[in-house]
Symmetry: C2
Subunit: 77 residues, 2 copies
């Protein structure tokens, strides 16, 4: 199975969701991207349709916005 990508920005909501997602789908099935550590991935996430974090892009390209931590404009600020 192609991996999902979970994007987050280190906020408490993000970390809680990250923990849940890893529990549910398994760490081996998801790549975790922290924008605070890698701002170069922001453009790719926006292109995939990510509007806020935490969000997960599934292997088939759907975006699941999970709860609400921060908007992408806050992430870029």
């Amino acid at each position: 199975m192609k991996k999902s990508i979970f994007y987050h920005a280190g906020c408490p909501v993000c970390l809680s969701a990250e923990h849940d997602i890893i529990e549910l789908i398994g760490a081996q099935n998801v790549e975790i991207v922290h924008f605070g550590e890698d701002k170069s991935r922001i453009a790719e996430a926006e292109k995939a349709g990510v509007k806020s974090v935490p969000a997960m892009v599934t292997p088939n390209g759907n975006v699941l916005h999970i709860n609400f931590g921060a908007s992408m404009s806050e992430v870029k600020a």
Copy 2:
């Protein structure tokens, strides 16, 4: 593993998310509850912290609101 519970109300956003969740975590790991078919589950979902659908309650009781289909007040209307 205890099952997650995925609550939805049949809206297009709900059905898309349902499909993704089943792909990701497996149909055997999640109970699907459709409020349109079973309104008696609404109170239980609200008690668990569900504010909008689609939403998933994880085995440890966390609520993941996934994208946004409808508020619980719309579901009850």
